[in-house]
Protein backbone atom coordinates (compact mmCIF):
# COMPACT_ATOMS: atom_id res chain seq x y z
CA UNK A 1 0.00 0.00 0.00
CA UNK A 2 1.14 3.57 -0.51
CA UNK A 3 1.58 5.47 2.67
CA UNK A 4 0.95 9.20 2.92
CA UNK A 5 3.90 11.54 3.39
CA UNK A 6 4.40 12.17 7.07
CA UNK A 7 6.47 15.10 8.23
CA UNK A 8 8.31 14.78 11.49
CA UNK A 9 10.24 16.99 13.79
CA UNK A 10 13.95 16.30 13.26
CA UNK A 11 14.81 17.02 16.86
CA UNK A 12 12.58 14.24 18.09
CA UNK A 13 14.28 11.51 16.14
CA UNK A 14 17.73 9.98 16.00
CA UNK A 15 19.01 8.76 12.66
CA UNK A 16 21.51 5.90 12.95
CA UNK A 17 24.33 5.18 10.52
CA UNK A 18 22.39 2.38 8.87
CA UNK A 19 19.47 4.70 8.25
CA UNK A 20 17.16 3.77 11.10
CA UNK A 21 14.99 6.58 12.41
CA UNK A 22 14.29 6.15 16.09
CA UNK A 23 12.16 8.44 18.25
CA UNK A 24 14.44 9.77 20.97
CA UNK A 25 12.19 8.97 23.85
CA UNK A 26 11.03 5.58 22.66
CA UNK A 27 11.45 2.98 25.35
CA UNK A 28 14.14 0.59 24.14
CA UNK A 29 15.03 -1.80 26.92
CA UNK A 30 18.03 -4.01 26.46
CA UNK A 31 19.08 -2.16 23.31
CA UNK A 32 22.05 -4.48 22.82
CA UNK A 33 19.57 -7.25 22.06
CA UNK A 34 17.56 -5.23 19.56
CA UNK A 35 18.71 -5.47 15.97
CA UNK A 36 17.28 -3.11 13.36
CA UNK A 37 18.48 -4.07 9.91
CA UNK A 38 18.27 -0.69 8.32
CA UNK A 39 15.89 2.04 7.17
CA UNK A 40 13.43 1.30 9.97
CA UNK A 41 11.23 3.91 11.56
CA UNK A 42 10.37 3.61 15.23
CA UNK A 43 7.73 6.17 15.98
CA UNK A 44 6.72 8.00 19.13
CA UNK A 45 6.30 6.18 22.44
CA UNK A 46 6.95 2.72 21.13
CA UNK A 47 8.22 0.16 23.63
CA UNK A 48 10.76 -2.52 22.78
CA UNK A 49 11.59 -5.12 25.42
CA UNK A 50 14.95 -6.39 24.28
CA UNK A 51 15.85 -7.15 27.88
CA UNK A 52 13.46 -10.09 28.01
CA UNK A 53 14.59 -11.76 24.77
CA UNK A 54 16.27 -10.65 21.53
CA UNK A 55 14.26 -8.68 18.99
CA UNK A 56 15.30 -8.85 15.34
CA UNK A 57 13.74 -6.43 12.94
CA UNK A 58 14.30 -6.45 9.19
CA UNK A 59 14.66 -3.58 6.75
CA UNK A 60 12.10 -0.88 6.01
CA UNK A 61 9.94 -1.75 9.01
CA UNK A 62 7.68 0.93 10.46
CA UNK A 63 6.61 0.59 14.08
CA UNK A 64 3.75 2.97 14.81
CA UNK A 65 3.15 5.20 17.81
CA UNK A 66 2.66 3.53 21.12
CA UNK A 67 3.20 0.00 19.85
CA UNK A 68 4.76 -2.55 22.14
CA UNK A 69 7.09 -5.23 20.79
CA UNK A 70 7.59 -7.71 23.53
CA UNK A 71 8.73 -11.32 23.55
CA UNK A 72 6.19 -13.73 24.93
CA UNK A 73 6.89 -16.61 27.24
CA UNK A 74 6.72 -20.25 26.32
CA UNK A 75 6.39 -22.82 29.02
CA UNK A 76 8.81 -25.66 28.37
CA UNK A 77 9.28 -28.72 30.51
CA UNK A 78 11.49 -27.30 33.19
CA UNK A 79 11.02 -23.58 33.06
CA UNK A 80 9.62 -20.77 30.97
CA UNK A 81 11.65 -19.36 28.12
CA UNK A 82 10.98 -16.10 26.37
CA UNK A 83 10.73 -16.49 22.61
CA UNK A 84 12.65 -13.93 20.54
CA UNK A 85 10.59 -11.71 18.26
CA UNK A 86 11.52 -11.69 14.61
CA UNK A 87 9.96 -9.13 12.33
CA UNK A 88 11.01 -9.48 8.72
CA UNK A 89 11.41 -6.79 6.05
CA UNK A 90 8.84 -4.23 4.93
CA UNK A 91 6.43 -4.86 7.78
CA UNK A 92 4.14 -1.97 8.68
CA UNK A 93 2.85 -1.96 12.23
CA UNK A 94 0.35 0.78 12.93
CA UNK A 95 -0.17 2.53 16.22
CA UNK A 96 -1.05 1.10 19.63
CA UNK A 97 -0.43 -2.52 18.70
CA UNK A 98 0.88 -5.13 21.07
CA UNK A 99 3.15 -7.56 19.26
CA UNK A 100 4.23 -10.66 21.11
CA UNK A 101 4.62 -12.78 18.00
CA UNK A 102 7.49 -15.15 17.40
CA UNK A 103 7.66 -14.21 13.76
CA UNK A 104 6.00 -11.70 11.47
CA UNK A 105 6.71 -12.41 7.82
CA UNK A 106 7.70 -9.97 5.12
CA UNK A 107 5.32 -7.29 3.88
CA UNK A 108 2.79 -7.86 6.66
CA UNK A 109 0.53 -5.01 7.65
CA UNK A 110 -0.71 -4.93 11.20
CA UNK A 111 -3.63 -2.54 11.70
CA UNK A 112 -3.94 -0.11 14.58
CA UNK A 113 -4.82 -1.31 18.08
CA UNK A 114 -4.38 -5.00 17.28
CA UNK A 115 -2.98 -7.58 19.60
CA UNK A 116 -0.74 -10.27 18.17
CA UNK A 117 -0.53 -12.95 20.84
CA UNK A 118 2.61 -14.71 21.99
CA UNK A 119 4.40 -17.30 19.86
CA UNK A 120 2.26 -16.57 16.83
CA UNK A 121 3.63 -16.82 13.37
CA UNK A 122 2.25 -14.60 10.65
CA UNK A 123 3.62 -15.66 7.28
CA UNK A 124 4.33 -13.34 4.36
CA UNK A 125 1.97 -10.65 3.12
CA UNK A 126 -0.63 -11.07 5.84
CA UNK A 127 -2.84 -8.18 6.74
CA UNK A 128 -4.29 -7.84 10.22
CA UNK A 129 -7.29 -5.55 10.33
CA UNK A 130 -7.33 -2.83 13.01
CA UNK A 131 -8.60 -3.96 16.38
CA UNK A 132 -8.06 -7.66 15.81
CA UNK A 133 -6.88 -9.99 18.51
CA UNK A 134 -4.68 -12.77 17.22
CA UNK A 135 -4.62 -15.57 19.76
CA UNK A 136 -1.41 -17.03 21.16
CA UNK A 137 0.32 -19.88 19.34
CA UNK A 138 -1.54 -19.34 16.09
CA UNK A 139 0.02 -19.64 12.67
CA UNK A 140 -1.45 -17.84 9.70
CA UNK A 141 -0.61 -18.79 6.09
CA UNK A 142 0.79 -16.29 3.62
CA UNK A 143 -1.60 -13.74 2.10
CA UNK A 144 -4.18 -14.09 4.88
CA UNK A 145 -6.49 -11.25 5.63
CA UNK A 146 -7.02 -11.56 9.36
CA UNK A 147 -9.74 -9.86 11.34
CA UNK A 148 -11.80 -10.23 14.47
CA UNK A 149 -11.54 -11.02 18.12
CA UNK A 150 -10.58 -13.91 18.14
CA UNK A 151 -8.86 -13.38 14.81
CA UNK A 152 -9.71 -15.57 11.86
CA UNK A 153 -8.80 -15.60 8.21
CA UNK A 154 -11.50 -13.60 6.48
CA UNK A 155 -10.01 -13.24 3.05
CA UNK A 156 -6.96 -13.17 0.90
CA UNK A 157 -4.62 -10.27 0.36
CA UNK A 158 -3.29 -11.54 -2.94
CA UNK A 159 -4.27 -9.46 -5.98
CA UNK A 160 -7.47 -10.77 -7.53
CA UNK A 161 -5.95 -11.93 -10.79
CA UNK A 162 -3.75 -14.44 -8.99
CA UNK A 163 -6.58 -16.31 -7.24
Amino acid sequence: MDLPIVTYNEEDYVKTSVGNLVYKRATLCGSQNIVLNGKCILQKDCVFRGDIAPIRIGKYVIIGEGSVIRPGSKVLQAAAAFVPVQILDHVFIEKDCVIMAAQIGMYCHIGADSIIGRNTCLKECCEVKPGSVVLPDSVFPPFSLIAGNPAKVVGCTAPARLT
Partner: protein
Protein backbone atom coordinates in the same frame (compact mmCIF):
# COMPACT_ATOMS: atom_id res chain seq x y z
CA UNK B 1 8.70 9.87 37.86
CA UNK B 2 8.78 7.85 41.03
CA UNK B 3 8.48 9.28 44.51
CA UNK B 4 10.29 6.57 46.37
CA UNK B 5 9.52 7.95 49.81
CA UNK B 6 6.04 6.51 49.80
CA UNK B 7 6.95 3.15 48.34
CA UNK B 8 7.38 0.08 50.46
CA UNK B 9 9.18 -2.47 48.33
CA UNK B 10 9.91 -5.93 49.72
CA UNK B 11 13.54 -7.08 49.31
CA UNK B 12 12.82 -9.73 46.69
CA UNK B 13 10.53 -7.53 44.61
CA UNK B 14 11.83 -6.01 41.37
CA UNK B 15 10.26 -2.62 40.76
CA UNK B 16 11.95 -0.70 37.97
CA UNK B 17 12.41 3.02 38.39
CA UNK B 18 11.11 3.75 34.88
CA UNK B 19 7.63 2.67 35.91
CA UNK B 20 5.34 5.51 36.97
CA UNK B 21 4.54 5.02 40.63
CA UNK B 22 2.59 7.66 42.48
CA UNK B 23 1.37 7.70 46.03
CA UNK B 24 1.55 5.18 48.81
CA UNK B 25 2.19 1.74 47.35
CA UNK B 26 3.37 -1.41 49.05
CA UNK B 27 4.87 -4.31 47.12
CA UNK B 28 5.06 -7.80 48.53
CA UNK B 29 7.99 -10.18 47.98
CA UNK B 30 8.58 -11.33 44.42
CA UNK B 31 6.51 -8.59 42.77
CA UNK B 32 7.71 -7.54 39.35
CA UNK B 33 6.89 -4.16 37.85
CA UNK B 34 7.94 -3.67 34.25
CA UNK B 35 9.05 -0.37 32.73
CA UNK B 36 6.28 1.99 31.55
CA UNK B 37 3.78 0.44 33.99
CA UNK B 38 1.71 3.00 35.85
CA UNK B 39 0.55 2.43 39.41
CA UNK B 40 -1.22 5.37 40.98
CA UNK B 41 -2.45 5.42 44.53
CA UNK B 42 -4.44 8.52 43.63
CA UNK B 43 -7.10 8.66 46.32
CA UNK B 44 -5.94 5.87 48.59
CA UNK B 45 -3.02 3.47 49.10
CA UNK B 46 -2.43 0.28 47.12
CA UNK B 47 -1.05 -2.90 48.67
CA UNK B 48 0.28 -5.71 46.53
CA UNK B 49 0.72 -9.20 47.89
CA UNK B 50 3.57 -11.48 46.85
CA UNK B 51 4.44 -12.55 43.30
CA UNK B 52 2.39 -10.14 41.23
CA UNK B 53 3.56 -9.25 37.76
CA UNK B 54 2.61 -5.86 36.36
CA UNK B 55 3.52 -5.54 32.70
CA UNK B 56 4.17 -2.59 30.41
CA UNK B 57 1.68 0.21 29.88
CA UNK B 58 -0.73 -1.24 32.44
CA UNK B 59 -2.53 1.23 34.70
CA UNK B 60 -3.52 0.28 38.21
CA UNK B 61 -5.21 3.14 39.96
CA UNK B 62 -6.96 3.47 43.28
CA UNK B 63 -9.73 5.98 42.91
CA UNK B 64 -11.31 5.34 46.31
CA UNK B 65 -10.04 6.41 49.71
CA UNK B 66 -9.87 2.83 51.03
CA UNK B 67 -6.77 0.72 50.55
CA UNK B 68 -6.84 -1.26 47.33
CA UNK B 69 -5.66 -4.70 48.37
CA UNK B 70 -4.26 -6.94 45.67
CA UNK B 71 -3.51 -10.53 46.55
CA UNK B 72 -0.76 -12.78 45.29
CA UNK B 73 0.17 -14.34 41.95
CA UNK B 74 -1.80 -11.91 39.83
CA UNK B 75 -0.76 -11.11 36.30
CA UNK B 76 -1.56 -7.68 34.91
CA UNK B 77 -0.76 -7.92 31.21
CA UNK B 78 0.26 -5.20 28.80
CA UNK B 79 -2.02 -2.20 28.66
CA UNK B 80 -4.65 -3.35 31.14
CA UNK B 81 -6.50 -0.67 33.11
CA UNK B 82 -7.57 -1.79 36.55
CA UNK B 83 -9.56 0.30 38.99
CA UNK B 84 -11.07 -2.57 40.98
CA UNK B 85 -11.79 -2.11 44.66
CA UNK B 86 -9.93 -5.23 45.64
CA UNK B 87 -8.31 -8.16 43.89
CA UNK B 88 -7.77 -11.66 45.19
CA UNK B 89 -5.17 -14.22 44.18
CA UNK B 90 -4.20 -15.93 40.93
CA UNK B 91 -6.07 -13.63 38.60
CA UNK B 92 -4.99 -12.81 35.07
CA UNK B 93 -5.93 -9.54 33.45
CA UNK B 94 -5.41 -9.85 29.72
CA UNK B 95 -3.82 -7.40 27.31
CA UNK B 96 -5.76 -4.10 27.16
CA UNK B 97 -8.52 -5.38 29.42
CA UNK B 98 -10.31 -2.97 31.72
CA UNK B 99 -11.78 -3.44 35.17
CA UNK B 100 -14.06 -0.71 36.47
CA UNK B 101 -14.18 1.01 39.82
CA UNK B 102 -17.04 -0.86 41.38
CA UNK B 103 -15.71 -4.34 40.65
CA UNK B 104 -14.40 -6.71 43.31
CA UNK B 105 -12.23 -9.43 41.81
CA UNK B 106 -12.02 -12.65 43.81
CA UNK B 107 -9.63 -15.52 43.07
CA UNK B 108 -8.71 -17.27 39.86
CA UNK B 109 -10.53 -14.90 37.51
CA UNK B 110 -9.23 -14.21 34.07
CA UNK B 111 -10.06 -11.51 31.60
CA UNK B 112 -9.14 -12.06 27.98
CA UNK B 113 -7.54 -9.45 25.75
CA UNK B 114 -9.66 -6.30 25.36
CA UNK B 115 -12.34 -7.63 27.73
CA UNK B 116 -14.14 -5.37 30.16
CA UNK B 117 -15.60 -5.87 33.59
CA UNK B 118 -17.63 -2.91 34.71
CA UNK B 119 -20.46 -1.85 36.94
CA UNK B 120 -20.87 -2.72 40.60
CA UNK B 121 -20.22 -6.40 40.77
CA UNK B 122 -18.15 -9.12 42.35
CA UNK B 123 -16.48 -11.47 39.89
CA UNK B 124 -17.00 -14.96 41.22
CA UNK B 125 -13.97 -17.24 41.67
CA UNK B 126 -12.51 -18.66 38.43
CA UNK B 127 -14.72 -16.52 36.24
CA UNK B 128 -13.40 -16.16 32.69
CA UNK B 129 -14.44 -13.18 30.66
CA UNK B 130 -13.47 -13.76 27.07
CA UNK B 131 -14.13 -12.90 23.48
CA UNK B 132 -15.08 -9.72 21.71
CA UNK B 133 -18.50 -9.68 23.38
CA UNK B 134 -17.29 -10.20 26.99
CA UNK B 135 -18.88 -13.61 27.37
CA UNK B 136 -18.54 -15.20 30.76
CA UNK B 137 -17.94 -18.68 31.96
CA UNK B 138 -16.77 -20.15 35.25
CA UNK B 139 -13.73 -22.32 34.63
CA UNK B 140 -12.69 -25.42 36.55
CA UNK B 141 -9.16 -24.19 37.14
CA UNK B 142 -7.51 -20.93 37.95
CA UNK B 143 -5.19 -19.43 35.31
CA UNK B 144 -1.68 -20.98 35.19
CA UNK B 145 0.82 -19.76 37.76
CA UNK B 146 3.42 -17.11 36.95
CA UNK B 147 6.25 -18.83 38.77
CA UNK B 148 8.35 -19.91 35.79
CA UNK B 149 7.96 -16.61 33.98
CA UNK B 150 8.66 -14.71 37.18
CA UNK B 151 11.83 -16.66 37.85
CA UNK B 152 13.32 -15.56 34.54
CA UNK B 153 12.18 -11.94 34.91
CA UNK B 154 13.50 -11.60 38.46
CA UNK B 155 16.90 -12.60 37.13
CA UNK B 156 16.89 -10.57 33.92
CA UNK B 157 15.22 -7.28 34.83
CA UNK B 158 17.73 -6.06 37.42
CA UNK B 159 20.51 -6.48 34.84
CA UNK B 160 18.96 -3.98 32.46
CA UNK B 161 17.06 -1.65 34.72
CA UNK B 162 17.55 0.32 37.87
CA UNK B 163 15.22 -0.95 40.52
CA UNK B 164 13.73 0.74 43.54
CA UNK B 165 15.72 -0.19 46.63
CA UNK B 166 13.78 -1.76 49.49
CA UNK B 167 13.47 0.25 52.66
CA UNK B 168 15.78 -1.14 55.30
Amino acid sequence: MTNTKELDVAPTAVVVTTATLEGKIKFGPGCIVHPTATIRATAGPIEFGPDNIIEELSVIENLSAETMRIGSQNLFEIGCVVHARSIGNNNAFGIKSTVGEGVIVTDGCSLGPKCNAGGQRTLEPRLCIYGGKNEEHVAFDAPPRNASQAEHLLMVLPRYHKTVKPKT
